[in-house]
Amino acid sequence: MQALLSDTALIFGRYARQTLQSRFQMLFGVLMPLLYLLFFGPLLTGLPLAPGASSWQVLVPGLLLQLGLFGAAFAGFSIIIEKNLGVVERMRVTPVSRLALLLGRTLRDTALFLFQAVLLVLAAIAMGLRAPLAGVLIGFAFTALLTLSLSCLSYALALRVRTPQEFGPVVNAVTMPSMLLSGLMLPMALAPGWLDLLSHLMPLRYLVDAMRDAYLGRYATAGMLYGTLVATAFLTLALVVGTRVFRRAGA
């Protein structure tokens, strides 16, 4: 356990230093949600998206999850490059904990996307978002849970494929439907019955619903409960899959 923690801290440090050296990597992820905030957000201000809520309280939780979704799902790209450089195998022949090789990386990603999430919320406040502090913090927690889970799965997938050409299309095939079917941009409450039904099959929907509740200051709702349960279950699944793939040799 002690070894796992110190190994994880070591791996986290290596990749965090790499990230800190690249301003591009630190800021690029926030660009897409920021563009939505600036050029899409103002279109919604007059629309009655949810009773008693400003459009920003509906949009910003979705954009935070979008940031986590697109950022973390592609996290695995870096390990494909490292695999080709031989870095992954070089580390795997040392006694370092296999799980730490995964956790160190995913924790770096989580820290990075939380940093970008804070930037995005600050920009949103400047645009007109008003939400309770506790709700905003709960929102960050959900963003962190999603990022952890997705980057875990992304590394697991990346370790199994040989080339970036195989990895990109698979990730795209997952992220785009996830974004559309979870109502990240506009609440699914606006959807016709069949679409609403379909979207209930998408785990991400429960997270965004819970976050929207949080941004409205409603903490003891069914949506919050479902969101928490789904996020926790998803993280557990991701950790199980990730651990299995990282433990198995020959990747």
Binding site: A3, D7, L10, R14, R17, Q18, Q21, E82, N84, L85, G86, V87, V88, E89, R90, M91, R92, V93, T94, P95, V96, A249, G250
Partner: protein, 260 residues
């Protein structure tokens, strides 16, 4: 007790076109301080064997011990006592040499101060002191290879596996590397198992040669014993000997390192 010993070590890959038997049962052993050369045509199973002996790949048959640790039941022990330098090395071109050496020490669970001291010591031993603060990507081919080896020596392993250590090096760097391997053996009693395509290298450097072909050991012995037995006389070239053993030439066209 031999430091490396394998018995019937085998690995079959399941592919879309049916099973591929990359290694079909290898028996070999190496004593403490021995430099063992692993020779064979491309695709003979050299790298696959090395990847099994370094715990990167699980064998599908046979057993092996490395530095007294059983490969199957004590992979952590094998990792702690052996070092591996792959064909592709394994440093990040964007990270400074010192940081890579330091991280490597920490991966081998050295305390921080000790890892820093070991990085200095390795750099000094391998002539890298002047480039410690340069990014790995800025090193010359010879320096890069020495760095790769330094990474594998971080924890003073009893057994060192080198996969084509001199491929792509100029003659001077190659001679330096041979010197380094001999020094490791003489000063630390390290057992070295190295693969090579260069027959002169096996001749000059290795105490014993194991020729593998199509996943099994085709011949083994000292260079002169092999020449005498397969080449017909002590004066036989190792090239003809190699051809006589495998029935085909050693790797000719592709001497470029292949990514692992």
């Amino acid at each position: 007790m031999p430091l490396i010993s394998t018995s019937g070590l085998a690995r079959t890959f399941l592919t879309g076109r049916g099973p591929v038997e990359a290694v079909r049962g290898i028996d070999l052993s190496a004593e403490r301080g021995e430099i063992l050369g692993f020779l064979g045509p491309n695709g003979a199973g050299k790298t696959t064997t090395l990847r099994m002996l370094t715990t990167l790949l699980a064998p599908t048959g046979g057993t092996a011990t490395v530095a007294g640790c059983d490969l199957a039941s004590d992979p952590v022990g094998v990792r702690a006592k052996s070092g591996y330098v792959a064909q592709s090395g394994g440093v990040d071109p964007g990270i400074p040499v010192r940081e890579e050496l330091l991280t490597q020490g920490r991966l081998y669970r050295l305390p921080k101060a000790e890892a820093a001291a070991r990085a200095e010591e390795l750099a000094h031993d391998l002539g890298l002191s002047a480039v410690l603060d340069r990014p790995c990507g800025a090193l010359s081919g010879g320096q890069r290879r020495r760095l790769d080896i330094a990474m594998g020596l971080t924890h003073r392993p009893e057994v060192l596996f080198l996969d084509e250590p001199t491929t792509g090096l100029d003659p001077g760097s190659r001679a330096d590397l041979w010197e380094l391997v001999r020094r490791l053996r003489d000063e630390h009693g390290t057992t070295v198992l190295l693969t090579t395509h260069y027959l002169d290298e096996a001749d000059a450097l290795c105490d014993r040669i194991v020729v593998i072909d199509r996943g099994t050991v085709a011949a083994e012995g000292t260079s002169s014993a092999l020449k005498l037995r397969y080449g017909g006389s002590l004066d036989a070239g190792l090239q003809e000997t190699f051809l006589a053993i495998t029935g085909r030439g050693p790797a000719s066209s592709d001497t470029a390192p292949v990514a692992v």
